[in-house]
């Protein structure tokens, strides 16, 4: 493990209010494939070039995700 801090820039991220929701998204193969490292109970790193696909699936599942630059 690095001994100095690392700055990660331009990283796509998903954040949920309720950690259970993120558990559910990791358990669902449709969304799991776009979720990579889980940084905390409520924050996950999104796979490269996948935000639009993930957003589409979430909308299809009835979620209304907030998308921010």
């Amino acid at each position: 493990m690095a001994t100095e801090p690392i700055l990660h820039e331009n990283l796509p991220l998903l954040e949920v209010l309720d950690p259970i929701l993120l558990d559910t998204l990791y358990a669902d193969p449709h969304t799991e494939m776009y979720l990579l490292t889980r940084l905390s109970e409520s924050v996950a790193v999104i796979a490269p070039d996948s935000i639009a696909k993930l957003e589409k699936i979430l909308l299809k599942q009835g979620h209304t995700p907030k998308v921010v630059e």
């Binding site: 690392i6 331009n10 209304t64």
Partner: protein, 736 residues
């Protein structure tokens, strides 16, 4: 915006063509080419000389400049010719007679006069059919007077019992709806050739609820409106092209702040430039007709401008189309103009008169079959849809029409001071709708401001629109879409309350808040800055140094606010917008390792999806790959990941294994054969050519080794023994 100026094109025009052009600027025919160019460009750059030059023009030449001004300084030569005639401007006989078929005569004359150049490859070349696009210098049209038309000598019909027109707010509602849909889609992506993508148009159709074949508007069929208006917007100044995506130049709200005339004029100008959609698409138009339809629209606009102004009444379709035919019928058709008969001095005058009469009868007959139908289709589609005309109905058939106040405002801006004005939308928000407990919003179009229309288009789904009202519905999706476009819940609630005649029902307010709260449940962030610390303690220490952000887990800080470079002195950076380094190695057995001391927040989790994690790396197995594929992941994505992150290329055998594990059909066959090796080439050639041995030989393995089927070995040995060939058993197979 493209500048229409002659300067850079004049050097490409031949000297003999330039000489007549200089007369308008006081030049002489003995001037050499460079002097001609200097004379013209000097003249054009001096507004007072332009003004003086325009005074010397004949009425038809002034009309030509006025037409060019009307169409934005550029127009197909054929349209320029016909539009001047449609305006009722007399073309001098010597020009009409300068070419036997009269086509292109006007364009030729205007070019020699120095008023136009060809907009095609060569500025001095004009197609003999007048099909060349021509343009004028914008400094000429800047001072040119608006087009003055000679009104048609037709009289109004009896006031119809039934008439209908679209009110400006209804038209604006549709236009704003299309713009809002384009905005929600993030623009319209084009193909590499620059055409609109079929999928994009399809998505837009869905968003504005317009079926592909067409839509009934007040009982009138409009074919494929999405194509018509997307193309119109595309060719208007409302969209601009960025990275092959057409995006809005201004927001729908900004568009809505303009007057109805300006909003509709923008779209009309775009439609006049578009040659993709046609008024008669529903009945199948020939490609040539489709190309000509847009020229027809430009000419029809001059025809509409030529309606009598001093009478307030409806005009019959019959009178209008006949009047237009009398002006342009010999020169224009959206299908094909029958050639004027030619005479070779052997015909008698009476034969010539008869031939001309027969030609005119044929023209009229063709006009009634094609142009008359097209004119009615144009009036029923875009002219009605844009609110330019009011249609007179007789038993559901359209038999007449007149210009609306909006039509006058757009076609006769010079009469703005004297004519009936278009009712403008209120500048400020008014009580313009009622929100019902079932989430429906009834909007009163006479009271609503254009900005409020844009507001409703942003947050609600339009279900229908009539002359005086429009029905919207607030849905979870429409509210979500509105909030995603950058508005807040407060914007929505305040806007709804401000525009409502009555209090907003409580259940609606509660539900709107609920929907907005649901949107906060999941946030997708495109590009964040995240600081990763080696441990919890160093994170806490950094936070004490006034580093602003949100702590994520034990070791991460999601940076918020402005980030100073000083904060990361000594830190390494990873930019996920750029290509990440090649850091992986793989063995043929599928063992993957990440380069020592390298890490990012993608790679380990990506490998976890396809391989089994082990103490010192990952192992690809048939099971791990099959599991990934079963869960919906695509092998192509994984192969792509390996292609961009492996330091060396993926071993072919591993690639083969991955394909097989992912369900690919990777077959090979194994069978027992005996190798018959001959060191002596003479022996090899004799055996290979032997008729006795041929049935038992299965082929050649190398240049000196034959293959024998295991089951036939006894027969082969017997034949070789008979021939005295000694067989030894010490042939060794060498490694590849």
């Amino acid at each position: 915006m493209y500048q229409h100026r002659f300067d850079k094109f004049l050097p490409h025009v031949n000297a003999d063509k330039l000489k007549p052009m200089v007369r308008m600027w006081g030049g002489e025919s003995k001037m050499i080419k460079a002097e001609c160019i200097a004379c013209i460009t000097n003249g054009l750059s001096d507004p007072s000389r332009v003004s003086a030059a325009l005074q010397t023009l004949e009425p038809w030449e002034q009309a030509a400049l006025a037409v060019l001004k009307l169409y934005g300084n550029q127009v197909p030569g054929e349209v320029l010719d016909v539009a001047i005639r449609a305006a009722g401007v007399d073309i001098p006989q010597h020009i009409n007679n300068s070419r036997w078929d009269r086509r292109g005569a006007v364009v030729d004359a205007l070019f020699h006069r120095g008023l136009i150049l060809s907009g095609d490859d060569s500025p001095g070349y004009f197609s003999s059919y007048g099909s060349t696009t021509v343009f004028t210098d914008e400094r000429l049209t800047a001072q040119a007077a608006p087009l003055v038309v000679r009104p048609f000598e037709i009289t109004p019909i009896t006031a119809p019992q039934n008439a209908m027109y679209r009110r400006p707010p209804t038209v604006a509602l549709d236009m704003i709806g299309v713009l809002q849909a384009i905005s929600n889609m993030g623009g319209l992506r084009l193909t590499q050739k620059g055409d609109l993508r079929v999928a994009e148009v399809k998505e837009l159709r869905k968003a504005v609820n317009w079926p592909e074949k067409g839509v009934q508007i007040d009982g009138i069929f409009f074919p494929d409106p999405a194509t018509a208006w997307v193309e119109a917007f595309r060719h208007s100044d409302l969209l601009s092209l960025q990275n092959n995506v057409l995006i809005l130049r201004e927001s729908p709200e900004q568009f809505a702040t303009q007057s109805y005339e300006d909003q509709i004029r923008y779209v009309l100008e775009g439609l006049l430039r578009s040659n993709v959609w046609s008024e008669m698409m529903d009945i199948g138009m020939h490609y040539h007709n489709q190309q000509k339809s847009y020229q027809g629209r430009q000419v029809l606009l001059v025809g509409l401008k030529s309606l009598p102004l001093d009478v307030d009444g409806f005009f019959s379709i019959d009178d209008f189309e006949l009047a237009l035919f009398n002006r342009i019928g010999e020169h224009f058709s959206i299908s094909y103009v029958e050639n004027r008969p030619s005479f070779y001095r052997k015909e008698t005058p009476s034969q010539q008169i008869q031939a001309l009469a027969e030609w005119q009868t044929k023209l009229r007959k063709n006009w009634l079959v094609t142009e008359r139908r097209w004119i009615i289709a144009a009036l029923k589609t875009w002219a009605y849809f844009l609110g330019l005309v009011e249609l007179a109905l007789d038993e559901n058939e359209i038999n007449g029409f007149r210009l609306t106040a909006l039509g006058y405002a757009i076609l006769h801006p010079e009469l703005a001071a004297t004519h009936e004005t278009v009712a403008h939308s209120p500048k400020t928000a008014t009580h313009a709708w009622v929100v019902q407990p079932n989430f429906e919003v009834i909007a009163y179009l006479e009271q609503i401001s254009a900005l409020q229309l844009a507001f409703l288009e942003r947050f609600a789904e339009r279900k229908q629109a009539n002359q005086h009202t429009a029905l919207f519905r607030l849905t979870r999706h429409s509210v979500y879409r509105g909030l995603e476009s950058g508005a807040s819940l407060d914007d929505l609630l305040e806007g709804l309350v401000r525009g409502s005649h009555a209090e907003i029902p409580q259940n609606v307010l509660i539900e709107l808040r609920e929907w907005a709260a649901l949107r906060e449940q999941i946030t997708l962030k495109h590009r964040i800055k995240l600081l990763e610390f080696p441990d919890k303690q160093s994170l806490e220490t950094a936070c004490q140094r006034d580093l602003k952000g949100k702590i994520v887990g034990e070791r991460f800080l999601l940076l918020t606010g402005k980030v100073s470079k000083l904060d990361f002195l000594g830190s390494s950076r990873k930019n996920y917008a750029l290509a990440l380094p090649r850091c992986l190695s793989i063995t043929e057995q599928g063992r993957i390792r990440i380069q020592k001391d390298y890490q990012d927040l993608w790679i380990a989790a990506q490998l976890d999806q396809w391989a089994e994690r082990q103490s010192d790396g990952w192992q690809l197995t048939a099971d791990s790959v099959a599991k990934a594929v079963q869960s919906g992941k695509k092998l192509a994505d994984f192969l792509n990941l390996l292609a961009i992150r492996l330091k060396e290329s993926l071993p072919k055998f591993t690639h083969l294994a991955l394909q097989a594990w992912a369900g690919g059909d990777m077959k090979a066959e194994l069978g027992k054969t005996v190798a018959l090796h001959c060191r002596n080439n003479e022996v090899f050639q004799a055996l290979a050519a032997s008729r006795q041995l041929r049935p038992y030989l299965k082929g050649k393995l190398t240049h000196n080794t034959l293959l024998v089927n295991d089951a036939d070995i006894e027969q082969v040995l017997a034949i070789l023994e008979w021939a005295g060939v000694t067989i030894s058993g010490n042939f060794e197979v060498r490694s590849l």
